[in-house]
Symmetry: C2
Subunit: 428 residues, 2 copies
């Protein structure tokens, strides 16, 4: 698109939506169409989508579109009438969880699912303390913005919220330390003591189980189990935020918590659930929900509606029929091999990590110092955009290229990404 046309749209946007909204890329993209792993701009340019996890089974997957359209023509009411859709979906969803985690509650966004999870945790424990990692993303409401430690916000964090360092094996407090799991987990004790000094007991420890916004660090084996044990001993619950890692993306496991061998008290999920149709949920146990339902009832107008559940059912169905978890594993391994090849001739790649179709490439100034190359990472992101590959960066230093495409990403798609990435990394 001509720069002047982009500028007109950007100005119109700022006037109508204000300045709190942000756009991706130095030259924002004006997307008009999506199909599978491809996005198309208003000039007909084609982009390989390496970043969007919401279109979990591919942009505009016909099976999901069909499910939405068919149901939208027939009925879309709320959960104060009986309807099989929400029950059929709750049954299929809870079947994906370990025994005991067999109650599903629905909301519309990841923020709302996390809000509800914290309400349950507070009710169950009678406590209000929350422990989060130091560069986490959990959502946008007033309370959740305070536990979203990766952004500066206008809110002062309440003294009921304390942070622990993200368990990073590559960079951070205990990089390359054989006892990193214990040492990182030990920070949960420190956090609980800090909460106590502030007059709070822990209600919950919440983590994104792939630590996506923390830069997808390789977690020291055993860390999460040890951390959760400490929290539970102090009476707190463990909430697994599966909004990003869930639904098979990791290839090895359907849920992120499974990859750590830890069973949560509450799991929350959102983004990929409805392939873009707004639906989110939490899954929990009878024991956890008991206290909440004694004093509160729950209704969320747009949540668990026939259309939302039709979309979500179709997504689960496509994930299974198209073997997308296995595809994530296979293509992910193919990508890792390709990235390792690139790394042999390019010392900007400090670390390659992640699982399935959720990978991080840590870009460094040099491998000795492991110093984050933030500016170069940003340059790579924008050069890739120029060359038809949409990707982005994450992590505390914004130096981790985040690979998180729709799960229909093929080996051919991976090869295209590797080719363009190889070129760009040689230029920055």
């Amino acid at each position: 698109m001509e720069p002047s046309k982009t500028k007109l749209l950007v100005n119109r946007r700022e006037k109508l939506l204000g300045k709190a909204y942000r756009l991706f890329y130095d030259k924002p993209v004006h997307i008009v169409r999506g199909e599978g792993v491809w996005l198309f701009d208003s000039d007909g340019n084609k982009y390989l989508d390496v970043y969007n996890n919401v279109p979990h089974v591919g942009h505009c997957h016909p099976r999901v579109v069909e499910a939405i359209c068919s149901q939208a023509q027939v009925l879309n009411t709320h959960t104060r009438y009986l309807h099989e859709g929400v029950l059929d979906y709750a049954e299929k969803l809870t079947a994906k969880f370990p025994d005991g985690l067999d109650i599903a509650m629905f909301a519309c966004t990841g923020t709302e699912a996390n809000e509800l999870a914290l309400r349950l945790a507070r009710a169950k424990t009678g406590a209000s303390g929350m422990i989060v990692t130091d560069h986490a993303y959990h959502g946008t409401s007033w309370q959740i913005a305070q536990i979203t430690t990766c952004y500066q916000t206008s809110e002062k964090r309440g003294d009921n919220i304390v942070t622990v360092p993200a368990p990073d094996s590559f960079r951070g407090l205990y990089a390359d330390d054989a006892e990193a799991a214990d040492k990182y987990a030990g920070h949960l004790r420190i956090a609980i003591e800090k909460l106590a000094r502030n007059g709070h007991r822990p209600a919950a420890f919440i983590v994104d189980t792939i630590f996506s916004n923390e830069g997808l660090p390789t977690v020291p084996p055993g860390y999460l189990g040890k951390a959760v044990d400490i929290v539970r001993q102090a009476g707190g619950l463990f909430i697994a935020d599966e909004v990003q890692p869930g639904f098979g993306r990791l290839g090895t496991h359907f849920w992120g918590f499974d990859s750590h061998g830890v069973v949560p008290d509450i799991a929350t999920m959102g983004k990929p659930m409805g392939n873009g149709y707004p639906i989110s949920a939490l899954v929990t146990t009878e024991e956890v929900i008991e206290a909440f339902q004694q004093h509160s009832h729950y209704f969320n107008t747009f949540a668990g509606t026939p259309v939302a559940c039709a979309a979500a059912l179709a997504v689960l169905d496509v994930v299974e029929r198209q073997n997308l978890q296995a595809n994530a594993l296979n293509v992910g391994e193919h990508l890792i091999r390709g990235l390792k090849n690139i790394a042999e001739n390019n010392s900007l790649i400090g670390d390659i990590r992640g699982s399935g179709l959720f990978l991080g490439i840590d870009i460094v100034r040099d491998r000795e110092s492991r110093e984050p190359a933030t500016a170069k990472t940003n340059k790579a992101v924008n050069l890739l955009r120029e060359r038809g590959v949409l990707i982005n960066s994450t992590g505390a230093y914004d130096n981790v290229l985040k690979i998180r495409p729709p799960l229909v990403f093929s080996k051919d798609n991976a090869d295209l990404l590797l080719q363009k990435l190889g070129e760009v990394l040689n230029e920055i």
Copy 2:
């Protein structure tokens, strides 16, 4: 449906969703299809929908369904790419507001819109005090559940939240008092003093501008203006929660605040916006948003997407083309005349109030005492359900029949409601 079949569904639901979920009616309805003002159960029984405001332009309106389907087939990404949909809708939406209220921000639910409004108010004022009416509904997040004073919840209300009595001309502190407007507004001063004793300044006074959950009381003329003046003098903002009254339902005005002659600092909206597709928003001024956007940015994955905005644009379009605001006014007046006729021979009707297609019928034991007839109201609701009319009750005593149908409700529909209601009120 056979009682045994209903029971199976109810049991399955309790097992899968837990007990915090509630169903309407003693005999829950199993709805399978909707069209216009009609809902159909699994046995083919037809119900007149007198209660659902989410299907604003009618259940499964073909124009809205078509907008959702067409767009879902083409693209559904987020607001970090440029897209005309969100701008076209923001332009049309803000054009419906008084000058100055020209910035729109999007979310997915009324709860999220109110959450964002409170974040803006806190950032703008640097204060945290909130003033709400004593039987209000504003949503389900942790913070918003605390300002939702109409439900018992497991949360203790923070000392930054204080309540004022709902401005009821018929029942309550200053019923039939010529100075009710001043006297009710005076409670804002008391609230501000209470906040001060708790160490808080007021950030915002938030009301549903039709006081729906308060029982749709006839508000003493001038009350809201006086109340808002007091709050503004103390540095607080006025948030108009238009989730229920907005989008032409009142017939006389497009927004509830307009009916009070008061311009809000922030207006929030939700339910009817997308005729069931999850979309919500707030509209505010450059001045209000300034402080928030200095320190925070805002992104909500499913909000303001091409599909959400296509649905919302279609709703606005249908409201205009089908003259639904005028229809609300005409049919509402017809209903009020019919209700007055019924009241001539039935002393259970204590008061008829509201505007357009948002009416309340206050059911009393007798007109002298105005004592609320809660049990009889509940009986009427359930008898009407048996006779194919879906309605519900509201208010602090749950004795106000709430008429809030899709805006395509016709005079014929109104006559059917009046007939059934007349019958039922003679039997309870």
